[in-house]
């Protein structure tokens, strides 16, 4: 399941709802991404997340389907926020549930790694030096490349 929204989410409530009633689930893994208050030595006052409505949903559905193809997941959830966010605010939630922990851990990591390099979101940082579009990091490409199946 995927969701794109401006408003905040409650990770505990989301996790409970995702696995409620499913007794096959033995392990749940989750990742929460937050806005940092610092970037390259400059203080970040806020961050605005822009996205490509339509393609974002399509791409996240695709990434989610790929995780279900690769691991025996009982359930999964991606929530990604957009709009203006302050330091400390939640940006993204990834939850994966499986019978055993390894699939849950691996799929969770896969989802956030792939999302970071494929889902069409862009971060605009509001720093003391002015507004700046965040540049993609080579480290994120490397993290995503680990999951490539050639």
């Amino acid at each position: 399941m995927i969701r794109i929204q401006e408003e905040d989410f409650d990770p505990g409530a989301e996790i409970e709802r995702l696995v409620a009633g499913n007794r096959k689930v033995g392990g749940v893994a989750s990742f929460i991404g937050l806005v940092r208050d610092e970037a390259g030595g400059a203080r970040v006052g806020a961050m605005t997340l822009e996205h490509y409505a339509g393609m974002t949903e399509k791409e996240l559905e695709r990434i989610d389907a790929e995780a279900h193809k690769r691991w025996p997941l009982e359930a999964s959830l991606i929530i990604h926020r957009h709009g203006r966010l302050a330091p400390g605010e939640r940006i993204v939630l990834v939850v994966t549930a499986s019978a055993h922990r390894q699939a849950a851990f691996d799929a969770c990591q896969f989802l956030i790694d792939w999302l970071k390099t494929r889902a069409p979101f862009w971060k605009l940082e509001d720093t003391e030096a002015g507004e700046k579009w965040v540049e993609a990091r080579g480290a994120d490409d490397a993290a995503a490349a680990r999951w490539r199946e050639d």
């Binding site: 991404g33 997340l49 822009e50 996205h51 490509y52 339509g54 393609m55 399509k58 791409e59 990604h80 940006i91 993204v92 956030i112 999302l115 970071k116 390099t117 494929r118 889902a119 069409p120 979101f121 862009w122 971060k123 605009l124 579009w133 965040v134 540049e135 993609a136 994120d140």
Partner: protein, 83 residues
């Protein structure tokens, strides 16, 4: 053809979305980019280095040799930075 620009491509071209009719000689993404560069100095600057521009045709990632047609939605944007 609908062309969409995101993030700094939007600020450099000065436009978020435009409805255009490229000449018939434009048949693929590469040809479209070359034609778009001629629209304004802002377009030329935004599309100068295709190493930092990603392309989607009808909301799917596409390469420079991907064909384009009049009803397509083409999006141009920098490498993504979500998560």
């Amino acid at each position: 053809m609908k062309i969409l620009y995101f993030a700094w491509l939007k600020s450099r071209t000065g436009v978020g979305e435009e409805e255009l009719t490229p000449p018939e000689s434009v048949t693929d993404v590469g040809g479209l980019i070359a034609w778009l560069r001629g629209r304004s100095p802002g377009h030329a600057k935004a599309l100068a280095d295709m190493d930092v521009v990603r392309v989607a045709v009808n909301q799917d990632y596409a390469g420079l040799d991907h064909p384009v047609s009049p009803d397509d939605e083409i999006a141009l944007f920098p490498p993504v930075t979500g998560g």
